[in-house]
Symmetry: C2
Subunit: 216 residues, 2 copies
Amino acid sequence: MNQKTVSEQTLRRLPVYLHYLRSVRGERECISATALAQAFGLNDVQVRKDLGSVSGLGRPKVGYAVEELIAQLEGFLGCRAATSVILVGAGHLGTALLSYAGFLDYGLDICAAFDCAEDVIGRRVCGIPVLSSEELEAYCRAHCIHLAILTVPASAAQQMCDRLVGCGIRAIWNFAPTILRAPAGVTVENENLASSLAVLTRHLNEGRRTEAGESI
Amino acid sequence: MNQKTVSEQTLRRLPVYLHYLRSVRGERECISATALAQAFGLNDVQVRKDLGSVSGLGRPKVGYAVEELIAQLEGFLGCRAATSVILVGAGHLGTALLSYAGFLDYGLDICAAFDCAEDVIGRRVCGIPVLSSEELEAYCRAHCIHLAILTVPASAAQQMCDRLVGCGIRAIWNFAPTILRAPAGVTVENENLASSLAVLTRHLNEGRRTEAGESI
DNA sequence: CTGATATAAATAATTTTATATCGATATTTT
DNA sequence: AAAATATCGATATAAAATTATTTATATCAG
Protein backbone atom coordinates (compact mmCIF):
# COMPACT_ATOMS: atom_id res chain seq x y z
CA MET A 1 0.00 0.00 0.00
CA ASN A 2 1.34 3.39 -0.98
CA GLN A 3 0.15 5.23 2.10
CA LYS A 4 3.11 7.53 2.50
CA THR A 5 2.65 10.79 4.31
CA VAL A 6 2.32 13.47 1.71
CA SER A 7 3.16 17.05 2.52
CA GLU A 8 0.35 19.55 2.61
CA GLN A 9 1.62 21.51 -0.35
CA THR A 10 1.81 18.34 -2.39
CA LEU A 11 -1.65 17.35 -1.27
CA ARG A 12 -3.00 20.67 -2.47
CA ARG A 13 -1.48 20.20 -5.89
CA LEU A 14 -2.76 16.68 -6.45
CA PRO A 15 -6.36 17.70 -7.20
CA VAL A 16 -5.03 20.23 -9.68
CA TYR A 17 -3.16 17.51 -11.53
CA LEU A 18 -6.22 15.31 -11.40
CA HIS A 19 -8.40 17.96 -12.92
CA TYR A 20 -5.99 18.53 -15.74
CA LEU A 21 -5.53 14.85 -16.42
CA ARG A 22 -9.27 14.40 -16.65
CA SER A 23 -9.40 17.14 -19.22
CA VAL A 24 -6.82 15.46 -21.46
CA ARG A 25 -7.96 11.86 -21.01
CA GLY A 26 -8.82 10.42 -24.38
CA GLU A 27 -6.63 12.93 -26.16
CA ARG A 28 -3.46 11.18 -25.15
CA GLU A 29 -2.38 7.87 -23.73
CA CYS A 30 0.57 9.08 -21.69
CA ILE A 31 1.89 12.31 -20.28
CA SER A 32 5.26 13.28 -18.91
CA ALA A 33 5.97 15.15 -15.71
CA THR A 34 7.74 17.71 -17.84
CA ALA A 35 4.59 18.37 -19.85
CA LEU A 36 2.49 18.65 -16.70
CA ALA A 37 4.95 21.05 -15.15
CA GLN A 38 4.84 23.24 -18.22
CA ALA A 39 1.06 23.33 -18.15
CA PHE A 40 1.07 24.70 -14.63
CA GLY A 41 4.25 26.71 -14.66
CA LEU A 42 5.80 24.42 -12.05
CA ASN A 43 9.16 22.75 -11.72
CA ASP A 44 9.24 19.36 -13.39
CA VAL A 45 11.08 17.70 -10.55
CA GLN A 46 8.40 18.86 -8.19
CA VAL A 47 5.67 17.35 -10.30
CA ARG A 48 7.58 14.08 -10.49
CA LYS A 49 8.00 14.02 -6.75
CA ASP A 50 4.35 14.79 -6.16
CA LEU A 51 3.25 12.04 -8.48
CA GLY A 52 5.84 9.68 -7.09
CA SER A 53 4.19 9.87 -3.70
CA VAL A 54 1.00 8.35 -5.02
CA SER A 55 2.04 6.46 -8.09
CA GLY A 56 5.58 5.49 -9.00
CA LEU A 57 5.02 3.98 -12.36
CA GLY A 58 6.31 6.55 -14.72
CA ARG A 59 8.31 5.20 -17.61
CA PRO A 60 11.37 6.97 -18.95
CA LYS A 61 10.93 8.60 -22.32
CA VAL A 62 7.17 8.03 -22.11
CA GLY A 63 5.78 9.43 -18.88
CA TYR A 64 2.74 8.27 -16.99
CA ALA A 65 -0.27 6.43 -18.31
CA VAL A 66 -3.05 8.98 -18.03
CA GLU A 67 -5.87 6.62 -17.13
CA GLU A 68 -3.80 4.78 -14.60
CA LEU A 69 -2.64 8.00 -12.98
CA ILE A 70 -6.18 9.31 -12.76
CA ALA A 71 -7.25 6.12 -11.05
CA GLN A 72 -4.44 6.36 -8.54
CA LEU A 73 -5.06 10.00 -7.77
CA GLU A 74 -8.74 9.36 -7.34
CA GLY A 75 -7.96 6.50 -5.05
CA PHE A 76 -5.56 8.53 -2.99
CA LEU A 77 -7.80 11.57 -2.72
CA GLY A 78 -10.81 9.44 -1.93
CA CYS A 79 -12.84 10.52 -4.93
CA ARG A 80 -14.19 7.04 -5.39
CA ALA A 81 -16.28 6.56 -2.30
CA ALA A 82 -18.37 9.71 -2.09
CA THR A 83 -18.35 11.53 1.22
CA SER A 84 -21.69 12.87 2.37
CA VAL A 85 -21.66 16.49 3.38
CA ILE A 86 -24.18 19.10 4.42
CA LEU A 87 -24.21 22.79 3.63
CA VAL A 88 -25.33 25.30 6.22
CA GLY A 89 -26.53 28.66 5.00
CA ALA A 90 -28.38 28.67 1.68
CA GLY A 91 -27.74 32.30 0.78
CA HIS A 92 -26.05 33.53 -2.36
CA LEU A 93 -22.76 31.80 -1.81
CA GLY A 94 -24.40 28.67 -0.46
CA THR A 95 -26.59 28.44 -3.52
CA ALA A 96 -23.59 28.97 -5.76
CA LEU A 97 -21.84 26.05 -4.13
CA LEU A 98 -24.94 23.88 -4.28
CA SER A 99 -25.22 24.44 -7.99
CA TYR A 100 -21.54 23.80 -8.57
CA ALA A 101 -21.57 20.35 -10.08
CA GLY A 102 -17.82 19.88 -9.80
CA PHE A 103 -17.81 18.66 -6.23
CA LEU A 104 -18.95 15.20 -7.13
CA ASP A 105 -15.80 14.81 -9.22
CA TYR A 106 -13.85 15.08 -6.00
CA GLY A 107 -16.00 12.67 -4.05
CA LEU A 108 -18.19 15.20 -2.33
CA ASP A 109 -21.91 14.54 -2.20
CA ILE A 110 -23.92 17.42 -0.78
CA CYS A 111 -26.97 15.64 0.51
CA ALA A 112 -28.80 18.46 2.25
CA ALA A 113 -28.71 22.18 2.93
CA PHE A 114 -29.92 24.00 6.03
CA ASP A 115 -31.18 27.50 6.56
CA CYS A 116 -33.36 29.40 9.00
CA ALA A 117 -35.21 31.61 6.52
CA GLU A 118 -38.83 30.46 6.12
CA ASP A 119 -39.00 31.29 2.45
CA VAL A 120 -36.25 28.92 1.39
CA ILE A 121 -37.01 26.01 3.71
CA GLY A 122 -38.70 23.21 1.85
CA ARG A 123 -37.41 24.28 -1.55
CA ARG A 124 -34.86 22.43 -3.58
CA VAL A 125 -31.72 23.92 -5.10
CA CYS A 126 -30.27 21.81 -7.87
CA GLY A 127 -32.07 18.85 -6.48
CA ILE A 128 -30.74 19.34 -2.98
CA PRO A 129 -33.40 19.88 -0.32
CA VAL A 130 -33.17 22.91 1.95
CA LEU A 131 -34.21 21.94 5.47
CA SER A 132 -34.88 23.96 8.57
CA SER A 133 -31.82 24.44 10.70
CA GLU A 134 -33.78 23.05 13.61
CA GLU A 135 -33.47 19.63 12.04
CA LEU A 136 -29.69 19.93 11.85
CA GLU A 137 -28.72 17.81 14.84
CA ALA A 138 -31.16 15.02 14.08
CA TYR A 139 -30.12 14.85 10.45
CA CYS A 140 -26.39 14.73 11.11
CA ARG A 141 -26.72 11.93 13.60
CA ALA A 142 -29.13 9.94 11.48
CA HIS A 143 -26.97 10.15 8.38
CA CYS A 144 -23.54 10.01 10.07
CA ILE A 145 -22.39 13.29 8.56
CA HIS A 146 -18.85 14.33 9.42
CA LEU A 147 -18.19 17.19 7.04
CA ALA A 148 -20.00 20.51 6.78
CA ILE A 149 -19.74 23.49 4.46
CA LEU A 150 -20.42 26.68 6.36
CA THR A 151 -21.80 29.61 4.38
CA VAL A 152 -23.68 31.58 7.01
CA PRO A 153 -23.05 35.26 7.81
CA ALA A 154 -19.96 35.92 9.90
CA SER A 155 -22.06 36.91 12.88
CA ALA A 156 -23.68 33.48 13.07
CA ALA A 157 -20.65 31.41 12.16
CA GLN A 158 -19.14 30.62 15.56
CA GLN A 159 -22.47 29.69 17.07
CA MET A 160 -23.23 27.40 14.17
CA CYS A 161 -19.76 25.94 14.37
CA ASP A 162 -20.38 24.97 17.98
CA ARG A 163 -23.64 23.28 17.06
CA LEU A 164 -21.95 21.36 14.27
CA VAL A 165 -19.21 20.16 16.57
CA GLY A 166 -21.86 19.11 19.01
CA CYS A 167 -23.52 16.79 16.53
CA GLY A 168 -20.45 14.92 15.42
CA ILE A 169 -19.00 17.02 12.62
CA ARG A 170 -15.25 16.51 12.37
CA ALA A 171 -14.34 18.86 9.55
CA ILE A 172 -15.70 22.27 8.65
CA TRP A 173 -15.14 24.16 5.45
CA ASN A 174 -15.65 27.74 6.50
CA PHE A 175 -16.57 30.41 3.97
CA ALA A 176 -17.61 32.99 6.54
CA PRO A 177 -15.02 35.72 6.96
CA THR A 178 -14.28 34.83 10.57
CA ILE A 179 -11.83 32.69 12.43
CA LEU A 180 -13.62 29.78 14.03
CA ARG A 181 -12.54 28.20 17.27
CA ALA A 182 -13.09 24.48 17.33
CA PRO A 183 -11.79 21.79 19.69
CA ALA A 184 -8.81 19.65 18.74
CA GLY A 185 -9.86 16.84 16.48
CA VAL A 186 -12.08 19.09 14.41
CA THR A 187 -10.39 20.57 11.37
CA VAL A 188 -11.44 23.95 10.11
CA GLU A 189 -10.36 25.00 6.66
CA ASN A 190 -10.88 28.69 6.16
CA GLU A 191 -11.57 29.72 2.61
CA ASN A 192 -10.16 33.14 3.08
CA LEU A 193 -10.84 35.46 0.21
CA ALA A 194 -9.05 38.37 1.82
CA SER A 195 -5.77 36.45 1.79
CA SER A 196 -5.89 35.79 -1.92
CA LEU A 197 -6.83 39.38 -2.47
CA ALA A 198 -3.78 40.59 -0.58
CA VAL A 199 -1.50 38.69 -2.95
CA LEU A 200 -3.19 40.20 -5.97
CA THR A 201 -3.20 43.79 -4.84
CA ARG A 202 0.44 43.57 -3.85
CA HIS A 203 1.23 42.52 -7.39
CA LEU A 204 -0.70 45.46 -8.77
CA ASN A 205 1.03 47.91 -6.49
CA GLU A 206 4.46 46.49 -7.19
CA GLY A 207 3.80 46.89 -10.87
CA ARG A 208 2.83 50.48 -10.37
CA ARG A 209 5.90 51.20 -8.28
CA THR A 210 8.27 49.69 -10.82
CA GLU A 211 6.48 51.52 -13.57
CA ALA A 212 6.98 54.81 -11.77
CA GLY A 213 10.71 54.38 -11.88
CA GLU A 214 12.27 54.02 -8.46
CA SER A 215 15.71 54.34 -9.90
CA ILE A 216 18.45 55.14 -7.40
CA MET B 1 9.48 53.83 5.07
CA ASN B 2 8.83 50.30 6.14
CA GLN B 3 8.65 48.81 2.68
CA LYS B 4 10.32 45.50 3.47
CA THR B 5 9.60 42.53 1.32
CA VAL B 6 7.10 40.39 3.11
CA SER B 7 6.85 36.68 2.43
CA GLU B 8 3.74 35.39 0.77
CA GLN B 9 2.69 33.36 3.78
CA THR B 10 2.95 36.43 5.96
CA LEU B 11 1.09 38.51 3.44
CA ARG B 12 -1.76 36.04 3.53
CA ARG B 13 -2.03 36.25 7.28
CA LEU B 14 -2.04 40.04 7.48
CA PRO B 15 -5.63 40.50 6.31
CA VAL B 16 -6.70 37.93 8.88
CA TYR B 17 -5.11 39.95 11.64
CA LEU B 18 -6.67 43.08 10.27
CA HIS B 19 -10.11 41.59 10.28
CA TYR B 20 -9.77 40.45 13.86
CA LEU B 21 -8.38 43.77 15.01
CA ARG B 22 -11.29 45.58 13.46
CA SER B 23 -13.65 43.34 15.38
CA VAL B 24 -12.06 44.19 18.73
CA ARG B 25 -11.41 47.88 18.12
CA GLY B 26 -13.19 49.89 20.79
CA GLU B 27 -13.26 46.94 23.15
CA ARG B 28 -9.60 47.29 23.97
CA GLU B 29 -6.83 49.81 23.57
CA CYS B 30 -3.96 47.40 23.12
CA ILE B 31 -3.41 43.77 22.23
CA SER B 32 -0.42 41.47 22.60
CA ALA B 33 0.97 39.18 19.95
CA THR B 34 0.38 36.35 22.38
CA ALA B 35 -3.31 37.11 22.53
CA LEU B 36 -3.55 37.34 18.76
CA ALA B 37 -1.75 34.06 18.34
CA GLN B 38 -4.13 32.37 20.73
CA ALA B 39 -7.12 33.69 18.84
CA PHE B 40 -5.91 32.07 15.64
CA GLY B 41 -4.15 29.03 17.00
CA LEU B 42 -0.84 30.32 15.71
CA ASN B 43 2.59 30.60 17.20
CA ASP B 44 3.09 33.88 19.04
CA VAL B 45 6.55 34.45 17.61
CA GLN B 46 5.15 34.12 14.16
CA VAL B 47 2.51 36.73 14.82
CA ARG B 48 5.13 39.07 16.20
CA LYS B 49 7.32 38.56 13.19
CA ASP B 50 4.43 39.14 10.84
CA LEU B 51 3.45 42.33 12.59
CA GLY B 52 7.06 43.41 12.86
CA SER B 53 7.33 43.48 9.10
CA VAL B 54 4.71 46.21 8.85
CA SER B 55 4.77 47.86 12.20
CA GLY B 56 7.48 47.35 14.79
CA LEU B 57 6.10 49.34 17.66
CA GLY B 58 4.95 46.77 20.14
CA ARG B 59 5.61 47.67 23.72
CA PRO B 60 6.62 45.04 26.25
CA LYS B 61 4.01 44.24 28.85
CA VAL B 62 1.39 46.10 26.80
CA GLY B 63 1.38 44.88 23.24
CA TYR B 64 0.34 46.82 20.17
CA ALA B 65 -1.99 49.79 20.01
CA VAL B 66 -5.01 48.43 18.19
CA GLU B 67 -5.96 51.57 16.28
CA GLU B 68 -2.41 52.25 15.24
CA LEU B 69 -1.91 48.70 14.08
CA ILE B 70 -5.10 48.75 12.06
CA ALA B 71 -3.97 51.93 10.36
CA GLN B 72 -0.59 50.42 9.52
CA LEU B 73 -2.06 47.19 8.19
CA GLU B 74 -4.56 49.11 6.10
CA GLY B 75 -1.78 51.24 4.76
CA PHE B 76 0.39 48.30 3.93
CA LEU B 77 -2.36 46.25 2.33
CA GLY B 78 -3.59 49.24 0.38
CA CYS B 79 -7.07 49.26 1.87
CA ARG B 80 -7.13 53.02 1.95
CA ALA B 81 -7.17 53.87 -1.71
CA ALA B 82 -9.85 51.65 -3.17
CA THR B 83 -8.89 49.63 -6.21
CA SER B 84 -11.46 49.46 -8.96
CA VAL B 85 -12.25 45.98 -10.16
CA ILE B 86 -14.67 44.33 -12.53
CA LEU B 87 -16.38 40.98 -12.21
CA VAL B 88 -16.89 38.80 -15.24
CA GLY B 89 -19.65 36.20 -15.08
CA ALA B 90 -22.72 37.16 -13.10
CA GLY B 91 -23.93 33.66 -12.33
CA HIS B 92 -24.54 32.22 -8.89
CA LEU B 93 -21.03 32.59 -7.64
CA GLY B 94 -20.59 35.95 -9.30
CA THR B 95 -23.74 37.24 -7.68
CA ALA B 96 -22.61 35.90 -4.33
CA LEU B 97 -19.39 37.84 -4.62
CA LEU B 98 -21.17 40.96 -5.81
CA SER B 99 -23.38 40.89 -2.75
CA TYR B 100 -20.49 40.26 -0.41
CA ALA B 101 -20.06 43.64 1.23
CA GLY B 102 -16.77 42.73 2.86
CA PHE B 103 -14.58 43.52 -0.14
CA LEU B 104 -14.74 47.25 0.42
CA ASP B 105 -13.09 46.73 3.81
CA TYR B 106 -10.07 45.46 1.93
CA GLY B 107 -9.99 48.26 -0.58
CA LEU B 108 -11.80 46.52 -3.39
CA ASP B 109 -14.46 48.43 -5.25
CA ILE B 110 -16.38 46.30 -7.73
CA CYS B 111 -17.57 48.92 -10.17
CA ALA B 112 -19.20 46.76 -12.82
CA ALA B 113 -20.11 43.20 -13.73
CA PHE B 114 -20.22 41.64 -17.16
CA ASP B 115 -22.21 38.76 -18.58
CA CYS B 116 -23.45 37.53 -21.92
CA ALA B 117 -26.91 36.35 -20.86
CA GLU B 118 -29.57 38.75 -22.16
CA ASP B 119 -31.80 38.38 -19.13
CA VAL B 120 -29.25 39.71 -16.65
CA ILE B 121 -27.74 42.48 -18.77
CA GLY B 122 -29.01 45.86 -17.70
CA ARG B 123 -30.00 44.73 -14.23
CA ARG B 124 -28.26 45.75 -11.05
CA VAL B 125 -27.02 43.41 -8.35
CA CYS B 126 -26.47 45.11 -5.04
CA GLY B 127 -26.20 48.40 -6.85
CA ILE B 128 -23.59 47.13 -9.28
CA PRO B 129 -24.62 47.31 -12.94
CA VAL B 130 -24.42 44.19 -15.09
CA LEU B 131 -23.20 45.13 -18.56
CA SER B 132 -22.93 43.19 -21.78
CA SER B 133 -19.62 41.44 -22.19
CA GLU B 134 -19.31 43.16 -25.55
CA GLU B 135 -18.62 46.38 -23.69
CA LEU B 136 -15.78 44.80 -21.73
CA GLU B 137 -12.83 46.16 -23.67
CA ALA B 138 -14.16 49.68 -23.92
CA TYR B 139 -15.02 49.81 -20.24
CA CYS B 140 -11.66 48.54 -19.01
CA ARG B 141 -9.75 51.04 -21.06
CA ALA B 142 -12.01 53.94 -20.20
CA HIS B 143 -11.84 53.28 -16.46
CA CYS B 144 -8.24 52.04 -16.27
CA ILE B 145 -9.20 48.73 -14.71
CA HIS B 146 -6.30 46.44 -13.84
CA LEU B 147 -7.94 43.75 -11.72
CA ALA B 148 -10.69 41.33 -12.69
CA ILE B 149 -12.65 38.68 -10.85
CA LEU B 150 -13.39 35.76 -13.13
CA THR B 151 -16.49 33.69 -12.36
CA VAL B 152 -17.40 32.29 -15.73
CA PRO B 153 -17.80 28.57 -16.48
CA ALA B 154 -14.53 26.66 -16.88
CA SER B 155 -15.14 26.22 -20.59
CA ALA B 156 -15.13 29.98 -21.20
CA ALA B 157 -12.41 30.89 -18.75
CA GLN B 158 -9.29 30.78 -20.89
CA GLN B 159 -10.89 32.68 -23.72
CA MET B 160 -12.10 35.37 -21.35
CA CYS B 161 -8.70 35.47 -19.72
CA ASP B 162 -7.11 36.26 -23.06
CA ARG B 163 -9.58 39.06 -23.65
CA LEU B 164 -8.90 40.52 -20.23
CA VAL B 165 -5.17 40.46 -20.79
CA GLY B 166 -5.76 42.14 -24.09
CA CYS B 167 -7.45 45.12 -22.52
CA GLY B 168 -4.88 45.89 -19.89
CA ILE B 169 -5.81 43.68 -16.95
CA ARG B 170 -2.76 42.86 -14.86
CA ALA B 171 -4.24 40.61 -12.19
CA ILE B 172 -6.97 37.99 -12.40
CA TRP B 173 -8.73 36.34 -9.54
CA ASN B 174 -9.87 33.09 -11.05
CA PHE B 175 -12.76 31.15 -9.55
CA ALA B 176 -13.26 28.88 -12.54
CA PRO B 177 -11.93 25.38 -11.92
CA THR B 178 -9.27 25.62 -14.62
CA ILE B 179 -5.66 26.56 -14.85
CA LEU B 180 -5.29 29.75 -16.82
CA ARG B 181 -2.29 30.57 -18.95
CA ALA B 182 -1.39 34.22 -18.91
CA PRO B 183 1.72 36.05 -20.08
CA ALA B 184 4.39 37.08 -17.60
CA GLY B 185 3.42 40.28 -15.87
CA VAL B 186 -0.14 39.15 -15.36
CA THR B 187 -0.79 37.45 -12.04
CA VAL B 188 -3.43 34.79 -11.80
CA GLU B 189 -4.61 33.76 -8.36
CA ASN B 190 -6.57 30.55 -8.53
CA GLU B 191 -9.20 30.14 -5.88
CA ASN B 192 -8.96 26.43 -5.88
CA LEU B 193 -11.72 24.76 -3.92
CA ALA B 194 -10.51 21.26 -4.73
CA SER B 195 -7.24 21.89 -2.92
CA SER B 196 -8.90 22.91 0.28
CA LEU B 197 -11.18 19.96 -0.02
CA ALA B 198 -8.27 17.57 -0.28
CA VAL B 199 -6.93 18.76 3.04
CA LEU B 200 -10.29 18.27 4.70
CA THR B 201 -11.00 14.81 3.39
CA ARG B 202 -7.53 13.63 4.33
CA HIS B 203 -8.26 14.70 7.88
CA LEU B 204 -11.51 12.78 7.85
CA ASN B 205 -9.90 9.65 6.52
CA GLU B 206 -7.01 9.83 8.95
CA GLY B 207 -9.50 10.09 11.77
CA ARG B 208 -11.32 7.04 10.50
CA ARG B 209 -8.13 5.04 10.16
CA THR B 210 -7.00 5.87 13.69
CA GLU B 211 -10.45 5.15 15.00
CA ALA B 212 -10.40 1.72 13.45
CA GLY B 213 -7.37 0.75 15.47
CA GLU B 214 -4.44 -0.01 13.23
CA SER B 215 -2.67 -1.80 16.05
CA ILE B 216 0.21 -3.98 15.01
C1' DC C 1 12.91 52.56 44.40
C1' DT C 2 13.20 47.64 43.78
C1' DG C 3 12.01 43.32 42.15
C1' DA C 4 8.74 40.33 39.78
C1' DT C 5 6.43 39.66 35.55
C1' DA C 6 4.70 39.99 31.01
C1' DT C 7 6.02 40.92 26.67
C1' DA C 8 8.69 42.36 22.53
C1' DA C 9 12.83 41.65 19.78
C1' DA C 10 16.78 39.17 18.32
C1' DT C 11 18.98 35.01 17.44
C1' DA C 12 19.35 30.15 16.68
C1' DA C 13 17.54 25.62 15.49
C1' DT C 14 14.30 22.85 13.19
C1' DT C 15 11.24 21.63 9.80
C1' DT C 16 9.22 22.00 5.49
C1' DT C 17 9.35 22.94 0.71
C1' DA C 18 11.49 23.65 -3.64
C1' DT C 19 15.23 23.09 -6.94
C1' DA C 20 19.38 21.08 -8.94
C1' DT C 21 22.26 17.13 -10.16
C1' DC C 22 23.18 12.55 -11.69
C1' DG C 23 22.78 7.83 -13.01
C1' DA C 24 19.52 4.46 -15.04
C1' DT C 25 16.26 3.13 -18.54
C1' DA C 26 13.20 2.90 -22.33
C1' DT C 27 12.39 4.64 -26.97
C1' DT C 28 13.82 6.47 -31.32
C1' DT C 29 17.13 7.23 -34.86
C1' DT C 30 20.96 6.00 -37.54
C1' DA D 1 22.69 -3.18 -33.23
C1' DA D 2 24.62 1.02 -31.45
C1' DA D 3 24.13 5.82 -30.35
C1' DA D 4 21.35 9.67 -29.08
C1' DT D 5 17.66 11.48 -26.44
C1' DA D 6 13.92 12.18 -23.32
C1' DT D 7 12.44 11.05 -19.06
C1' DC D 8 12.13 8.87 -14.53
C1' DG D 9 13.74 8.15 -9.75
C1' DA D 10 16.88 9.06 -6.14
C1' DT D 11 19.89 11.87 -3.79
C1' DA D 12 21.78 16.25 -2.59
C1' DT D 13 21.48 21.09 -2.10
C1' DA D 14 19.25 25.39 -1.32
C1' DA D 15 15.67 28.30 0.15
C1' DA D 16 11.77 29.40 2.88
C1' DA D 17 9.00 29.08 6.80
C1' DT D 18 8.09 27.81 11.38
C1' DT D 19 9.21 27.06 16.09
C1' DA D 20 12.27 27.34 20.13
C1' DT D 21 15.44 29.94 22.98
C1' DT D 22 17.48 33.77 24.81
C1' DT D 23 17.87 38.60 25.94
C1' DA D 24 16.20 43.16 26.83
C1' DT D 25 12.67 46.33 28.32
C1' DA D 26 8.53 48.43 30.04
C1' DT D 27 4.94 48.17 33.60
C1' DC D 28 3.07 47.28 38.05
C1' DA D 29 2.91 46.04 43.06
C1' DG D 30 4.83 46.74 47.23
